[in-house]
Symmetry: C2
Subunit: 205 residues, 2 copies
DNA sequence: TATTAAAATAAACAGTGTTTATTAACTTTG
DNA sequence: CAAAGTTAATAAACACTGTTTATTTTAATA
């Protein structure tokens, strides 16, 4: 009997419709301006219906944050084709920064907002973040196999690199780089800073 | 006639009472769990009274964020007494990171949350942030006067340093360093990372 | 077709930031 | 001192929020 299979399929389609609509509204209006009611209205269902497909708003946001990681990982795939590990590191940071600046709402959800983390249990792993982090660690280990960053803990170096680019993106997204706009610092020249960081400083290790 | 002066003083006292109570509740329970009604209840006034002293919640949060900068600046004063500019840079980053980790709610408000920025007009300066940033820039210029970081834009270097430490603190505060807890990276060894960043890499410029 | 199971919803609950009309308190003036 | 005027405080409402429960509608099975 294919009915239960069709129902399963319809349920899955509904979940995707909700997620898709939510994603569109969030990126259009921002997270602070979209409610469960707004999403329900957009898909022409009652608010309570959404709770038949998602436990609460945190679960919904967690799923959207997973979707964000899928998009980021697609961008990251291209880096694997590069030869030089240090070039990989530069390219990875460019992909990361571009992603953050081009999809600020998505980046917010993935790396700044509490909601998707609140969905996780106390000791539950943040698998999406771990996957991305491991990608960075592997690039750094590849650098070390070429003799760079000798004797340094690759995890520590990875966290340092991540902190640097996350700092740049999150200060920008949350409008703290306003301090620079009054000064003569050329705005948005993030890759130049990455070049200094990776090519001129980190490589000296 | 000292009556209007007394009234002025009472108004100021009330403002301070509200701010003080708000600060206490926010640091106790976190920003997401404290409402205007909670603050009003705590000081035994009606919610509407708070709106006689502050235009809206953004203004209240902006004032609290100013208070946070005052606390941070007090910590930063001690650095002026140090001789070596590079030591100053290290000490400054330590003060900044310690502040963030010891006062996560305050740091959140100052460098992550949108609210205090939303209070500012479109083209209005973020004076608190600029003051702190300028302090960092001056330390870096002092380093350059000793021959370090030759030919580099001090503002750019300042943003790089800030991004690095902000990245560390904000990833920690928003629970993204969870990715490290599963791996063998020693948690919370932020000053070691700063040492590598400032002493082993930046100084090579 | 009647019964059973599933899906969707209306309505309510408890909360939020904020505004308005009303009351209470105090200051100034006649 | 009492009346008028001014300021401070509030009760109540508005338009929201996330979420739950009891009810109704829809669809599948017997």
């Amino acid at each position: 009997m294919g009915i239960s299979e069709r129902k399963q399929r319809e349920k899955e389609e509904m979940r995707r419709l909700i997620l898709q609509t939510a994603m569109r509204l969030f990126t259009e209006r921002g997270f602070e301006s979209v409610s469960i009611r707004n999403i329900a209205e957009e898909i022409e269902y009652s608010p309570a219906t959404i709770y038949l497909y998602f436990k609460d708003k945190n679960e919904l946001l967690h799923h959207l944050h997973e979707e964000g990681f899928r998009i980021l990982h697609i961008q990251m795939q291209r880096i694997a084709q590069l030869g030089d590990p240090l070039e990989k590191l530069m390219a990875l940071s460019k992909v990361y920064i571009d992603f953050g600046l081009n999809h600020p709402e998505m980046y917010d959800l993935m790396f700044i907002l509490n909601a998707p983390m609140n969905y996780l249990e106390e000791d539950e792993a943040w698998t999406e973040g771990e996957g991305t982090f491991k990608f960075l660690v592997d690039v750094i280990i590849a650098c070390q196999q070429e003799g760079r960053f000798a004797g340094k803990n690759p995890l520590q170096l990875a966290l340092m690199c991540w902190s640097f680019v996350h700092g740049l993106v999150s200060l920008e997204i949350r409008h703290r780089t306003r301090v620079c706009s009054r000064m003569q610092l050329p705005q948005g020249d993030y890759m130049e800073m990455c070049r200094i960081y990776f090519n001129e400083t980190l490589t000296k290790l």
